[in-house]
Symmetry: C2
Subunit: 466 residues, 2 copies
């Protein structure tokens, strides 16, 4: 009778019942205690090991709760049948193939998503956040799944004034980033919806839709943006567009094309337009063009925006404005859901908007980015003269450069990296026959680099490409 062989250490900090429990688990796993074998009675164990009955009881209860033994009333405890586990992978570390390949080092990155976080009024933000934390401990409780009312109201006001978006706060869903909200939109649209994407266009959107197992058709662009002719022939039901500043081409979709698109959407009840207004806050030579959403009397356009560029990349607050039919579906399908954004952050952002700090910040960074853009364009023109053509620089935080020195895109990218400058080629955003992609063209995001860095980076590009 094995239990009697158990050596208890009365001096160890480990409680006696756990020592007994662990011993018995080992005995059962190793087969020393056989299936259906009866364990010694609690009394017998107490007497033999010199421990209290409650110690033995606790150990037996644990074994019983975990299914190692079962109790048969008025008979005793018996060992249960355990399935043998096949040994699976021996190692605890993931295979080496999983380790993310390190990026080659670079000094400067013309990233299209970088912004200057030093320009953000961080001290005011931190102070507001502290205020909210100390004044509102009740925000630990669950909030509204669509986002707290106060934030949706300030957002609504902001979107009306700055972007001509017509909505009421009920139509807004606040979420932790564009990617999350796009996932959500996909769940609101029919399972057999076919998504028309701009080509070239945002690679992220493409991956999100494909990861969800949905169908995508690529629609070429003309100089006004997504081609209506191709869209009409594509069989698509949902068009995803970036009309304020097409990514990456930088086209501002003219009013004519906007109305054509809306007309297309109005032709069938299940057609929608997703308007991604990702960097509409930044316009330089032209007045901000109101969002398409406002043209549609909000019935066909799903509007998406984010604070990742206008505040900082780690501020994971984005927002959807849903048309009524989809809002209805959201309320039916997502009764269970909880907001993905910290309520403390929601309240901080709300105060930041309400106290005018956000508008002031936008004005200030707008000027800053305009200076940077003008500066880098001047440097590029000085360095490359008529070997360079610039496009899409009326708005947003990136523009295109085409280099006419006979090098292909991949060579331009490679040589730049050799000099320590990372810059993406446009083909990264293009799907299909690469011959139809603009040649020797790169996408230059400038907002994350200061004037000195921009000058230095252009000097390196000059070395790389001459």
């Amino acid at each position: 009778m094995n239990a009697f062989l158990c050596k208890l250490d009365f001096n160890r900090k480990h409680p006696l019942y756990l020592q007994l429990y662990s011993f018995l688990v080992q005995e059962i796993k190793s087969g020393n205690l056989k299936v259906d074998e009866r364990l010694p009675s609690k009394k017998a164990v107490c007497a033999h090991l010199g421990i209290s009955q409650s110690t033995v009881e606790t150990a037996y209860d644990m074994l019983s709760a975990e299914g190692y033994i079962r109790s048969i009333p008025r008979s005793g405890y018996y060992v249960c049948q355990l399935e043998r586990l096949e040994p699976s992978e021996p190692s605890l570390s993931p295979p080496t193939a999983l380790i993310k390949a390190p990026e080659p080092p670079y000094r400067f990155y013309f990233s299209t998503s970088a912004v200057d976080i030093k320009a953000f009024p961080y001290a005011s933000w931190a102070k507001l956040h502290k205020e909210v934390m100390y004044q509102n401990p009740e925000l630990l409780q669950r909030g509204d799944a669509q986002g707290d009312d106060c934030l949706r109201e300030s957002l609504c006001k902001f979107l009306r004034e700055y972007r001509g978006v017509h909505c009421n706060p009920d139509q807004i869903v606040v979420g932790a980033g564009m990617e999350y909200l796009l996932d959500l939109v996909l769940q609101l649209l029919d399972q057999d919806a076919v998504f028309a994407l701009e080509n070239p266009g945002y690679d992220t959107t493409y991956h999100i839709i494909r990861n969800n197992g949905r169908s995508v058709v690529d629609i070429p662009l003309d100089r006004d943006g997504m081609s209506i002719t191709h869209l009409a022939q594509s069989g698509a039901t949902v068009a995803y567009v970036t009309p304020s500043h097409q990514f990456p081409m930088g086209i501002t979709m003219p009013i004519g094309r906007r109305t054509q698109l809306l007309k297309w959407a109005n032709e069938s009840p299940n057609r929608y337009i997703i308007e991604d207004d990702y960097d509409s806050e930044f316009r330089f030579n032209i007045r901000p063009i109101p969002a398409m959403q406002g043209l549609s009397l909000h019935s066909k356009v799903i509007y998406v925006g984010t604070f990742s560029r206008s505040i900082a990349p780690s501020i994971r607050v984005a927002y959807l404005v849903l048309p009524p039919a989809l809002l209805q579906r959201y309320l039916e399908k997502f009764t269970f859901s909880s907001s993905t954004v910290s309520r403390f952050e929601q309240y901080t952002l709300c105060r930041f908007l309400e106290r005018g700090l956000f508008s002031r910040h936008l004005n200030r960074v707008g000027n800053l980015y305009k200076q940077r853009k003008d500066h880098v364009i001047k440097q590029l023109e000085k360095a490359f003269g008529n070997q360079i053509a610039i496009q899409g620089d009326n708005a947003g935080l990136h523009f295109l450069i085409q280099i006419k020195n006979g090098m292909e895109e991949s060579e331009l990218v490679r040589r730049a990296l050799e000099q320590g400058v990372k810059i993406n080629g446009i083909s990264r955003y293009f799907r299909g026959d690469v011959k139809q992609c603009p040649s020797s063209t790169l996408v230059l995001g400038y907002a994350g680099l200061c004037q000195q860095e921009l000058s230095d980076a252009v000097c390196l590009l000059k070395k790389a490409w001459n």
Copy 2:
């Protein structure tokens, strides 16, 4: 020539170019300016209206950028063709059907997801958060998509010590809530995966999977949890289980069933188990049973946990532990993604874990909740004697009560609500033939109510059910 009829107000704050622009937009929209009509030359407008040439130029550039007019070199500006927009919905407010139905009022809610936020060491949390904000402004920059390294390391340590989870930090994905992470898991599994759900079980999981258009089969429970016989016959490829404390039945899955489940999963490479360890931190009469993940040498179990119960509902931090094959898929499919959790909150949580504040908090609330549970059970037994049967109270923040006074579940729920007590019937978590659902059984979550409130609520239940 219409432009000459424009009345400019030189005293208004509204800039002159915007007045001219707005006037011309109206003229084009109303048809006063016809398609292909030539606009007056800039010089002519200047002279006529007495404004500078740059004012006119700006207005014309805006109209041109927005697609209202086009410029033909050496000829002039012409009005473009605009599509007429069909008027869509007339009202800006969503239909009344959309307004969420108000809940009937109640005094007490035996909610299964409520916790006592007063027991949370909020002051320490707020102080840590302030520290992080003031010391780490660089956290405004984009962080790791899987969550910051420091948090994943502390989580890994915590999960190993407290839950017997074997992983390394690379396998962890931090995300804004369980629902978000389940969406993500669905995208990592095959599109034709069939999900076996516990029945009765979490309604939220069911909705998430169905909203994603995936297939679900309901598997009945026996006294050890999900029935293996039914699972094996169901054609399911992924089993979603809550082995620590089945929701809502409160069953702790014994080791025998766990090994059977793992054996089932090992039979085919595309089979997986999702282990939802939602309230494993709270166990009362029995030792915490290690997670299944640890039994599987991490190759078949996708482990999911959350801080919504152990800290507070609004702390939107949950975590996945991915098996290597799915981690590989994640790294391939989600190269673009950004973390959904604020980095400031990630760092705060990391310090909270590392400084031992979380363990201390768990011990303290564990004792508090045990007292509450013992208290409410005592009150219930005093009030209902042998008319009540209690089940599933060894662990977690809820248990089941069955009332044997001849009333059906719906009547019990309704009468309780009439007395101001909200409590959910088990059928809410059951799909299929309601006759197979335990009769007259309610799910009582107690953690959000203090002893006095629990006593008062039980008094009201006594009135309701006697």
